[in-house]
Amino acid sequence: MGRIMETIRDLVPPPHIQGIKHFVDYALVDEILRSKHFRQGSHQESQPFFGDSLLTIDHDKHFERRRLQAPLFRKEALEYYEHKELLPLISKALDECKENRDEDGLVRADLCALVRTMLARISAVTTGIDGVDTQERTDAFRNYIEQLGTGATVEWSTEDHGEVISRILQIREGFVKEFYGPSVERRVGLINEFKNGNLSEEELPRDLITLMYLHWNENWDEELPLRESTLYLVASSQTTTHAVPHLMIHLHEWFQEHPEDYEKRFDKDFLKQAGHEAIRLHLPSPALLRIALQDVTLSNGVGIKEGERVACLFTPANRDITVFGGDARSFNPYRETPNVKPWGFAFGGGEHTCIGRTLVTGLSARTDNDEGTDGTLVNIAASLFEAGIEIDPNDLPTYTELSYHDAYGRFPISLTNL
């Protein structure tokens, strides 16, 4: 059976990386990301949203910030997010879909919006945003995250970048007033109670905002927690939101071509491998820039001058046939990658490897006696199959036109078991 649409696209280098020396081989990209002779070079334009956040700081500063935030990603925290927050929220979001049943009795939804709703609350929990509870509030919050995401990835926007920044900064003021400000105020109050001896540390919320205000650094500017929160909100929801539609359409095609595998749609190990393939092929950040801190000669003999910016193109690197095999450009949930992470550079590399990666992919067992977690991608995919997800061949998904990102903008589905 043929493919229903083109699902594997090449990276179209956006204007901000054109003319810069770029690298597409897996080994060279890995070498640059691991090297201590480079610093972060991405997110120059999106400084108003991400400036001085974990994403944009390097070396000692990065280590200290990461160390501060690491407790949010401890095994126990990941287990809590998955079992106490994510799973009930997935069920809740699917239940809410039933309220919009069409006249023919079928429940229809947009997968992009549905996944964003599922992820909104979990990103609020890890960041420390209160009041994301009712459908109306969740919709408002989800909309803010989407808008902040547009600002935070302005380099990839097909719109005028100056206009995007100005528009989203204005929208951010609404977010601060409605969600962020009251959340900070409550946490600062609780921290004061703790410092006055009226609360124990265990009674404080375990989230980013609390951690930052509890361990305030005098070198930070007052707006830093807002930018760090923006990073958490955008990154924790966008990776999964980006990946699930790709995963669903690849599995749709896979099951058409391999009907014997259809029964594996509830098999979490199979879904995990499929999810890794989807994010390997469709990266939430398809390219990142690095700036050389000194003259560097790479192992292939290419020289990079001090201060020179280079682009690591993750999309072609993640399809490098020397690493992922001759069929690297295609989706194969049975692919074996013994020497590298199965998702390649989907979460970056080196010290800037995404701190929240384990939220998405799950955490492998840390000790000999535990089971680890499955992550947002697998849990959402399994729930969608239980809900009877189907793609309408007469109303196919479409890619976004607002960004150079390899992302769907519209993804109509029906949920036949609801």
């Binding site: 401890r74 992470k341 080196g350 990666r357």
Partner: protein, 67 residues
């Protein structure tokens, strides 16, 4: 020293990115080798090192450490 429980400390060398974060938080247990990959120097540390081990494992950008 608590001898009742010992960890089985390991690093997946295929995914270690050599950031050296583990060495910073637990220099008694990890070092960077000549190719800047982290290696374990005490494979069965006692429970006294539990906090450092958990912090190193959580802080590792590629989560290459198990125990």
């Amino acid at each position: 020293m608590n001898e009742s429980k010992r960890f089985n400390l390991r690093i997946d060398q295929e995914i270690c990115q050599g950031t050296g974060y583990c060495v910073r938080v637990a220099p008694e247990l990890f070092v960077l080798d000549t190719s800047e990959n982290a290696i374990v120097i005490v494979v069965d540390p006692t429970q006294d090192f539990e906090n450092q081990i958990i912090e190193a494992a959580t802080l590792c950008p590629t989560r290459a450490i198990t125990y």
